[in-house]
Symmetry: D2
Subunit: 354 residues, 4 copies
């Protein structure tokens, strides 16, 4: 058992429902199970760059935050201590201030740190670990594109938000005999588009993993017309690669708009486009995400207690396991175009524009 008396918790990267649930679970477990003190490190690692910003996380501070979106610690996409951007003599320079960060953590009495964040945050955690800091990571990616874990918190809530939007648009599309294009998150992977597309009863799903053509999409629309279905719902992941012929149509708009324009041009249908954007990262976490986030938070504290540093918690076969951060990061989990989920979608008549 490790000789920890005080831990720090930091959240980094984009928002995801469940961050507060992880903070709460880790704080409660640290205090109640191990009698540790807990320090909240605000805004990524900013609270270690300016240690006066850091503050104690008590049971009272985490009371009531389980059902709330966002993070009470704040977060940022900047502030990598190993590549810290600052201004010197009027010029922007990049400095490694990790020694200062480590010293500040010590000054705050922090013996070990839980870093809750995406690939970027985990990489910082790994580098700190390699410099001797006791680190355990909790993975966070709304896109669910991390190969080390079957699922991350926030994804289920995002699927809810998207499915709810598709449900809403469904009846309007049907009543108006229109084509609706709905752009959802998924920079590199189509998980959100695929899962929410199946759940929402979409008719065409475009994901980065499957090349598509407007011609094939318009054929799907035409086939539906023949069946007396005068509307079509197309779910588009933001990360799809536009075919060459569409690139010139894009005017810096979201990719969903370009797809919508192209469908309008090549079919005789009225098209409407909806870019869901940031509502996918917010909201009260779903029960699934609350439970998963709670399990992750407790497991991270348990790993610290066991002295299993440099590890990241992950979900595999419904169990929480620990994986090496070093091995976990940088491996994208993409949708298998020949896998069961895509073939299930095809079996219920969903097209992929291919």
């Amino acid at each position: 058992m490790s000789d920890i008396r005080c831990i720090g918790i930091a959240t980094g990267g984009g928002d995801a429902p469940g961050l507060n649930a992880v903070i709460r679970a880790a704080t409660k477990a640290a205090i109640l199970k191990y009698k540790w003190k807990v320090i909240g490190i605000p805004d990524g690692f900013d609270g270690l760059i300016w240690p006066e910003k850091s503050f104690e996380l008590t049971l009272d501070k985490v009371s009531g935050i389980l059902p709330r979106g966002g993070t009470i610690l704040g977060t940022t996409n900047r502030g990598n201590p190993f590549k810290y951007k600052t201004e010197e003599n009027g010029k922007e320079v990049t400095r490694d201030i990790s020694d200062q960060v480590i010293a500040n953590a010590a000054k705050l009495g922090i013996d070990a740190i839980i870093t809750i964040g995406g690939d970027g945050s985990q990489k910082i955690g790994l580098e700190l670990f390699q410099k001797g800091v006791k680190i355990v990571g909790v993975p966070k990616t709304i896109d669910n594109d991390l190969s080390a874990t079957e699922l991350t918190f926030g994804f289920d809530t995002a699927i809810h938000t998207v499915t709810d939007a598709i449900d809403k648009i469904h009846t309007t599309a049907a009543s108006h005999h229109r084509v609706f294009v709905i752009e959802v998150m998924g920079r590199d992977c189509g998980w959100i588009a695929l899962a929410a597309g199946i759940a929402g009863g979409a008719h065409v799903i475009l994901i980065p993993e499957i090349p598509f053509s407007i011609k094939a999409i318009c054929e799907s629309i035409a086939e539906r017309e023949k069946l007396g279905k005068h509307f079509t719902i197309v779910v588009v992941a933001e990360g799809i690669k536009l075919p060459q012929e569409l690139k010139q149509m894009s005017r810096g708009w979201p990719v969903g708009n370009t797809i919508g324009d192209a469908i309008g041009l090549f079919s005789n249908k009225e098209v409407r486009v909806s870019v869901l954007g940031h509502i996918q990262r917010g909201g009260s976490p779903s029960p699934y995400d609350r439970v998963l986030a709670t399990r992750f938070g407790v497991a991270a504290v348990d790993l610290l207690a066991e002295g299993a540093f440099g590890k990241m918690v992950a979900l595999r076969a419904a169990s929480i396991v620990a994986v090496d951060i070093a091995r976990a990061i940088g491996h994208l989990k993409t949708v298998d175009p020949d896998g069961e989920l895509v073939s299930t979608a095809r079996a219920v008549g969903i097209g992929f524009g291919d």
Copy 2:
């Protein structure tokens, strides 16, 4: 009492949650209370242009549609029988086919018609009434901008959808210290922006009725920063008039994006923009909208039974009343910049960019 034996029901214009609830209530009241037959006229008045498309609305046909968005009759924004666009000798021409429409209604055995729709549909209804058709109107406007009625169905549901989106974005904005601009519906009036802005705890609301400047918005943001609030939520009605200096920034994008760009330019804050779009017109109607739509549907049938043709149902002081369609249409209900709702918003610290 009128000698009606069969009525037709038509829905026109944009989608609004509660259309099906009106159809159901009118159909049930007509059949159960008056023993009338009911004909569904699909796609606006298309079902009277091509009468073979029309079909009987039975109790079975309207069973289960109360909680559903959209309209089982379909709808369209085109197809005005008085200005019917058709092609003759390869040229688009506009014809008055109202006589044919009236003849088709007679052929279908329709003695009277309930038109559920916006200003455009009510105007068609009025003109048909002036040609002798027994018409009663049910108002529909998601924007709630009709002066003849205190409220229309669909508005409450839209407010729900927008408030839910603001709630979701709130925690992300707070966690990331960002400015979020949320564009909502409201072509001529700011009712959705104002009500949902108050309900969602927005900090700045921009509506067509109140001129604004980017400078004032940025001052609101700066004031919040001074209070330690490093995020600001700006709700923007789609119908706001851009100040001259912003017009050149617009690139054909939604107005919310232009506001977002301008705030980003004139403040030192990161800005994100969310254009909510069509999800505001969809979804299961809220209980309030279901009840109001049911009351409207029953009242419309009662008016037909009383022989009160050329009337439109409306809500005033919590009661259903009948108003002349002729007087009801064309009168916009705008937000009073000096009224109680705006001053309530100001009292809780909401700015209007003025």
Copy 3:
């Protein structure tokens, strides 16, 4: 204009979604618009009995509470200062400690008080006003049974919760060919049962205002069977008066269970009973309730500023008005059995067991 510098806010009686929204709006308006100090009086009037429990309500304290159910001030159904129950020499005695409460308010620097609560709390407010305290009331009744105001906050949210439950039960009832009895709130009046029953598509609604018989209910069920509808949803207000023959069946259980037992006995249908209970008083307030609560909170502060003491805010014809507390309390707003809402329900086929 009154010479107020500091106000107190108290919440009393049962829970209702929107209490926090009133507290927030009143606090913000007092601080931002009038530069007053605000004191939160916890747990009804307990904070004036034990003044050390009271605390300052700052902008920070009310930040983020708009969408939350409950009241940050706490509440209680006991603690009437005019009939304060205490123990003296081992016996429970009732004392008038209102002078002490008034003295404590003065000691806390409170110049005027906003009392948010039901009939009981308003009566206490009135008696304090009659002893010279500057009081303004905000009405609160989940049942919406106060004749002085068209609507109160919390009611719309309760209707949502009940409608959502009816929606959920609808599909199960239909799939299983069962009768479902759903007991909802409404001690003296049937507003919740009536509004949610219409919104949820109930088939029979029992309310205190309309006498009913099991025989008539079973006839409604049998008629539906004839139409091929093998399920029936019966919504029951908790406050219905049981017919003589049913009183002996009641075993101290909720009234909904007795109705369910009786239907099971007198029809050949399987019956299930659901008593919704306290979930009807909780949850995030609906947008409508948030806006109404905000308007009430601001209006109460404005009334204090105008020196209009002894008044209660109310909603009439979509406007906020002030009414005398003395005239407002004790007048129940019951459902009119011959009114438009009941006849609308009948027109769409809903029975009332009469």
Copy 4:
């Protein structure tokens, strides 16, 4: 590949959100992927006892049912063809009418059957399989207590409904300083209570797998009081075994009421009880349940196509697998009192009354 040309689909047992999603997916896959005809067998196996009740499931019939609770096929808990209860000469007798059922299936042209249902339905399916019928099963249990599959559809939606109720009650409990007892489903196992209890932030969870005492519960309540938390939320699975001393307190009421009475008796707290009941079985299936149900439906059709009869689909390590019905049924998956989920709950301070 099997020489199937027509399949039947039956749903049996209690309601669970996602049944319609399975029916839709299986019907679409059968028609679109395999060009089979599909027959809907209504009300458990009743549609094979009275074959005239059965009807063809077309693409149109399953259109729009994905988001709806219940089952369009209807369901029943009775009607086991091997133990069919009927009346002969005024006496109830039990007959094996399976031969007649099999003959009727053949008469309808049904080559194979998908049985969607709980243990009871799967057992009937197995016995039909053993008599030569081509059967594939889809597991259904709202309680998620089947050891053969990690998850079943409906469970996630039930967790949502319960968590939503706990969220609603949380603020009321906190505002009123009360103890709330919430009884949830779980006849033999505590999965719903445990998952929703963690997700809802409950303080005490009582499940059939962990013996408890009222004394320990009251100690948990007292400890919370010491921490200034004057409310406690107790989630109780309906299937808990009452300790001897409590059995006499039960008056035939739901178990949650007995627990509530006992807590009220042995602590000095006001207690309220909420028995959630059938709303847990209804509602639009959550996105997770819609996807899982769709995967199950397609996989069941694929198994029929492969000739893998007598199998049941199941979820293991995020993949769909096939298990022998014979081995799958009758094995309860109980909560491990020493497992990770219970210890996670304990780590965040949840008590189990032990």
